[in-house]
Symmetry: C2
Subunit: 210 residues, 2 copies
Amino acid sequence: MPRYGRLGLPLYEAMYSMRAIRRMRPDPISDEDLEIILDAARQAPNGGNAQPWHFLVVRGEQEKATLAELYHEAWWAKRADQGMEGRDHPGLQNPVSRSAMRLADEIGGAPVMILLCATGPGAGNAQSVIPSVQNLLLAARGLGIGGTITTLHPVVDARVKTLLEIPEEAQVVYCIPLGYPRGRFGPLNRKPLKEIVSEDKWGATPDWIE
Amino acid sequence: MPRYGRLGLPLYEAMYSMRAIRRMRPDPISDEDLEIILDAARQAPNGGNAQPWHFLVVRGEQEKATLAELYHEAWWAKRADQGMEGRDHPGLQNPVSRSAMRLADEIGGAPVMILLCATGPGAGNAQSVIPSVQNLLLAARGLGIGGTITTLHPVVDARVKTLLEIPEEAQVVYCIPLGYPRGRFGPLNRKPLKEIVSEDKWGATPDWIE
């Protein structure tokens, strides 16, 4: 059995318990586990099998600390774009925002951050690499490792590229912290199927949806 | 055990054999199987849990036939954008292009086409719904059903929206034919990990990658 045989949990168990993990223990992720996760990521579909993805694993102490500072700045730059400044802003008091705010403070405590990059510019390249992030997170889940999808902000883009020597023509699509969860994996909170599925005409809810 | 318990195959088996299926038998997909596939899709991560996705299932005879004609037109419009016109163009003689060309002819023979839509405009909404397509295809694989990710083209956008009564502000992100494969599921052809993974600096290949 090749190494990926360690991803033996049932597909439904991975999918139905893979909630976003934003609080992580500092315990390291082994090289073998990272390789299994990245190997799974590259199995994902992509446009014309061009595979325009690059996975930049950040776990050097200095690189991770600086990237964490830039992530913190990017997070607050996004809030400023939305007209929300300061930790006490009323728009930031809901649980999702508070959890994301804490991640912006603590992301450097994750043992690994992976930058999912597209090797070329444009929306097409970015879209083509995104399915791989779902394989990446499902495989991590299969090994008991959690994470979440985050984005950076144009205000830090040049500095992130300089820090990690990312070529000008590449794009940083997502920043994915990974680590063993402090909390638990568990069920997801999603809209009912009836609200998000139509048949043949938009808004026509099929009678076979419960 | 809820219905999703039918997705009991090992995670690695789904990921490592889920190649693009472009030739399908016309056999119908049951309502129950479609519901399992769509229920898995909505478990995917998405920005801020806003879930800006809508799954438009097309299997009515007339809607599917018209959508298939529009898909064919869109496929050739994309080729024209790339400077390739006519079935005999040298750029279309490789196996991937020939397979895609055949799909453009035959897509109406798939028992189901699903349009993955974003409920709002902009690149952010489109990116946010994309991980769901990977859950959708993995769940289909778990039920022995194949498919592939395709895109349409702006030249048919207005007609697709009129045909299926898709609101102006929504985006059609992907068109996904689904059906039981004529060929087999099987291993995927991907670049070596060494070419697509770096550690701490772009281009620095980690020594733990085989």
